[in-house]
Symmetry: C2
Subunit: 131 residues, 2 copies
């Protein structure tokens, strides 16, 4: 399946230093929805997470996640990316570091305890809600 194209009218939200909410599903069926930083990579979105985090377990079990980005300047405007997820290793922490820089920090390692393992969740949207 060809990935959907990211809508040009929402690149400000997709490429700006915004905090989004990533929703996954816990084994109980309850949604988990927590703030994440992210990085657009073409028509996909990358989220760096510590390997032990619940959101990683959730997508390993069921590779579906939804990223919602609100416009901080207009509370009625948002984009929702309903996505399939693949998990990628990030041994060099390059995705973590790029996300940290996007948000105005310089030292990605200051966000992790020594010995932390991170993975990258790559979200490929199959439905995009533009509002």
């Amino acid at each position: 399946m060809t990935p959907l194209e990211m809508p040009a009218a929402y690149l400000d939200l997709l490429d700006g230093p915004h905090t989004a909410v990533l929703a996954t599903v816990l084994p109980s069926g309850t949604p988990q929805a927590s703030p994440v930083w992210f990085l657009r990579d073409g028509n996909t979105v990358l989220v760096s997470t510590v390997s032990e985090r619940q959101k990683h377990h959730n997508v390993a079990r069921q590779p579906l996640a939804t990223l919602t980005i609100l416009d901080p300047a207009n509370q009625l405007r948002y984009i929702e990316l309903r996505s399939s997820v693949t998990v990628e290793d990030d041994p060099s922490m390059s995705v973590r570091d790029a996300v940290v820089v996007k948000h105005g920090y310089t030292d990605g390692s200051s966000f992790d305890k020594p010995g932390t393992t991170r993975v990258t969740l790559r979200l490929t949207p199959f439905r995009i809600i533009e509002h």
Copy 2:
């Protein structure tokens, strides 16, 4: 089960005019996560939604939803309410109107087409993440 108590340290987010993200689960298993206005009612949270909306169908099918409120002044602070949901009628539109007033508008009916039916989703948290 006694409802959890809303944490005093997060009443600013629970009672301020913030836009939250409500995550539910679509029949496909994909999360739906969309912005909502809301109103705290003691240890529960009320969300007014148009009866035909997908989020209402989702919680009618599986009465679980998670509300996540981000602190606009501190991108690392948030509260997540993993909740059971009951659906209540709102024939007088009193919940809609109270939510609209909380967000600085005066006329709730301007948000709906004539003939709209609304329901109230009452979220009772069974797990609260404070971050």
